[in-house]
């Protein structure tokens, strides 16, 4: 008899792998990608493909250069590419998209050690970097179905910036338009319906738990109502749906367990509304998620699960 394999229990493992989880996320993002092509035309596809290709290439090259095991196969870089593309306007110069992808993969993900190690969401952080580097092209919004608009064309307002700057009581938002996404904005910020379909798919496939998206959206609605804003508008506008279902649920940069996830999602919700109401930027989703990413380790330090049957610890530190 050949030598028997001696290994530690358990001797079985489940069928889920990182790769098939990422594949599910890609499937979950497909409705949003399709919607963006319908709304903005073939150029949306160009942006998406540019981002995916440059993310995959960045990952491949940086792993090679760093002499680390190749991780392109886990498909996480494809997900980052798609998410980044969905956070860009359709008129973006492809070179800027490439710049964003390199920043996301090389600087934010690989420099920190690769998948599972980065502390902020690569796609969102890349978007913030792009917005600060190229403020003008990043806010050139074309109207929906205006397939030929160029970056130099007159930009339409996004619903959020419209609300912020026009603020006329007569221009009540058209909720259906918001829901279906036939308005200006980033590729993935427009069609709430497509994103909800993808998000529900991920929840059914148990890729994400509903805790973060549900808490995030609920907090936004409640807080928006408290401040006398229009909750339905706040839910449907901007990148909230994309953020709640696909960005705030990023494994690496959100907390590991239920209780900390609740705190995290409430934080995202509150910050989003605060930025929308008081900030100089119309859109708060990217910033609030990245901010909460940064304090995730802190949340995990203070909001811990209690081991089975362990008695509650007496708070010895007083009320300070």
């Amino acid at each position: 008899m050949e030598k028997l394999i001696v290994s530690s229990s358990p001797h079985f493992n489940g069928k889920k792998t990182t790769q098939n989880i990422m594949l599910d996320v890609i499937i979950g993002l497909t409705p949003a990608m399709i919607a963006s092509v319908i709304i903005f035309g073939i150029r949306a596809a160009v942006v998406i493909i540019t981002c995916i290709a440059s993310c995959v290439l960045s990952e491949y090259i940086s792993r090679r250069v760093m002499k680390r095991p190749q991780t392109v196969g886990d498909l996480s870089c494809v997900v980052t590419g798609i998410l980044l593309a969905l956070n860009l306007p359709v008129t973006i110069n492809p070179l800027m998209a490439v710049f964003g992808s390199v920043a996301a993969i090389v600087v934010i993900k690989q420099m920190f050690g690769g998948i599972g190690q980065n502390f902020v969401n690569p796609a969102l952080t890349a978007r913030i970097i792009l917005m600060n580097s190229f403020p003008a092209p990043m806010t050139h919004w074309t109207a929906a179905f205006d397939y030929s608009a160029t970056a130099d064309a007159v930009t339409t307002a996004t619903p959020l910036s419209g609300m912020m700057y026009v603020n006329s009581p007569n221009s009540a938002p058209d909720y259906w338009q918001l829901f279906l996404g036939t308005h200006g904005g980033c590729l993935g910020e427009t069609c709430a319906l497509a994103i909800i379909i993808g998000g529900v798919y991920l929840i059914i496939r148990k890729v994400i738990s509903p805790v973060i998206p549900v808490t995030y959206l609920a907090t936004v609605a409640v807080f928006s109502a408290l401040l006398g804003r229009d909750p339905l508008f706040d839910l449907l506008a901007g990148g909230l749906m994309l953020g709640a279902f696909f960005m705030a649920t990023d494994y690496t940069t959100s907390p590991l367990y239920f209780r900390a996830r609740i705190v995290f999602a409430i934080g995202c919700g509150v910050l989003t509304i605060l930025i929308r109401e008081f900030g100089s930027l119309p859109e708060g989703v990217s910033y609030s998620i990245v901010l909460m990413n940064i304090i995730t380790p802190l949340i995990e330090r203070y909001v811990k699960p209690r081991a089975f049957g362990k008695p509650k610890e007496k708070k010895g530190k007083g009320a300070a």
């Binding site: 394999i5 530690s8 493992n13 489940g14 989880i21 886990d74 599972g116 081991a307």
Partner: protein, 446 residues
């Protein structure tokens, strides 16, 4: 009267492991006397026994061949009649060396003439003494001496007896067969323990993937003569690994949580495995100590998977041969189920008291899965029945950070394997946690 739960209480985590219960449907076969048995002196948690026979001695079935005065220890008996061939050291699983009595069988299986039914048991002490005399250890897998468990300290009031028939490990069906083949014995044992410990609530906990067991045990538990107040009932548990783990089982049956470092007795529960109570009943009838064990022989490399009743100490390869041998080259052999069983180095090792299964897998199933980086998905945390954070335990182990390990309650981990099973990155979490525990123990000793 105590309330009986209609449904099990909620438990945390767990893993959707495949069942693979291939062998539940066939009656157990009885192994003919093996030529030779190897009886290790350590078949329980606690102090090892010292051999009480020497080379050349003639022994009978049921004769004591090893004992020790230590409290946490159970005597060991000859499982065949014959001659002591030698007393040597053998290497057991887990790498520890232990003495073993090797007996060449005379094929007669002659019982020790001094064995007689014990006098009726009347007190808790007598019950514990009987369990010790019988050499009974927890037959569910852990191998904790039964008399220690039955010796409930006076201050602790046991109000619930839980009979563990969850059998949540894949493949294993030996308890399933016990229930079907020896149901009456099981109930006799239960009534006896119930009477002696004066418990008025007995829950026979069965996973609901065994409807035939639930039906059969419900039928015989419903005995108006022996149980006029209907204090013995069957509770169907959800089929979710690890329902049979002691703490999880107590929680599922009573909603009570056993705190780290405590025992079920601290929350008023006593948990006994079905095979253990059934054996107690037959011991009280005949006086024959524990010398036989029902084991499930299964796995992709086994020709005719089935349950076999074997003399303890029979080399695994003899039992496999009895089951038609290997149908393909075995690459991994497990003592116990795939979730918590131990991979052994050779099939020459003997069957031990607490073995409930031997599984042999061919190359395809023995294949090692690939390990990639942790993606912080939280699946291990969600799966942990002990509500721990396995990925953090792994990271703290890598850093050898004993303080962090203790703060993360590493010692509460029962090594059930749910975390590693659920991990998409194939992290060897349980392996890391075992290492982490050894750091904590070492630090504690200093």
């Amino acid at each position: 009267m105590q309330e009986f739960p209609k449904h099990p209480f909620r438990t945390h985590g767990g893993a959707p492991v495949p069942h693979h219960k291939n062998t539940w449907n066939a009656p157990s076969a009885v192994l003919p006397p093996p030529e030779r048995v190897i009886i290790p002196m350590q078949q329980h948690i606690g102090a090892p026994c010292k051999p009480t026979v020497k080379k050349g001695d003639h022994v009978y079935v049921g004769q004591v061949v090893g004992d020790n005065d230590a409290f946490v220890c159970a005597p060991i008996h000859a499982s065949v009649s014959g001659t002591v061939n030698s007393i040597t050291k053998v290497l057991l699983t887990g790498g520890q060396m232990t003495e073993a009595v090797i007996i060449d069988s005379d094929g007669q299986m002659e019982p020790d003439p001094s064995i007689a039914p014990p006098p009726p048991i009347k007190s808790k002490k007598e019950l514990a003494d009987a369990a010790r005399k019988a050499g009974l250890v927890g037959l569910g897998g852990a191998g904790f001496p039964a008399h220690v468990k039955l010796n409930v300290p006076d201050g602790k009031n046991i109000d619930t007896l839980i009979i563990n028939v969850a059998e949540c490990e894949p493949y294993v069906t030996s308890d399933h067969r016990e229930a079907l083949e020896n149901g009456k014995n099981v109930l006799d044992g239960i009534y006896k323990v119930k009477e002696i410990l004066d418990v008025h609530r007995v829950l026979i906990a069965v996973e609901d993937n065994k409807p035939d067991v639930i039906q059969k045990l419900t039928e015989i538990a419903d005995d108006p003569q022996k149980d006029p107040k209907d204090e013995v009932r069957v509770l169907a548990l959800k089929s979710r690994y690890p329902q049979g783990a002691e703490k999880v089982l107590v929680q599922a049956c009573t909603g009570r949580k056993v705190a780290p470092g405590q025992l079920p007795a601290d929350v008023g529960c006593l948990v006994m495995n079905i095979a253990s109570v059934s054996f107690l009943a037959s011991f009280m009838r005949t006086g024959m100590p524990l010398t036989l064990k029902r084991v499930t022989i299964d796995g992709s490399a086994i020709k005719n998977p089935q349950n076999v009743i074997v003399p303890i100490g029979t080399p695994i390869k003899d039992v496999v041969e009895f089951c038609g041998g290997y149908k393909s080259e075995p690459r991994k052999i497990l003592m116990g189920g795939p979730m918590m069983g131990i991979a052994i180095t050779s099939d020459e090792l003997p069957i031990l008291k607490q073995n409930n299964a031997i599984l042999a897998f061919d190359a395809r199933e023995a294949q090692q899965y690939e390990t990639t980086a942790c993606i912080r998905c939280g699946r291990c945390v969600a799966a942990c029945p002990m509500e721990l954070m396995p990925t953090k335990l792994e990271k703290a182990t890598e850093k050898k950070d004993v303080e962090a390990l203790q703060e993360l309650d590493i010692m509460t981990c029962m090594e059930c394997g749910c975390c590693a099973f659920s991990c998409p990155a194939g992290r060897r979490l349980v392996q890391a946690i075992r290492l982490g525990k050894s750091y904590v123990r070492k630090a504690g000793k200093k």
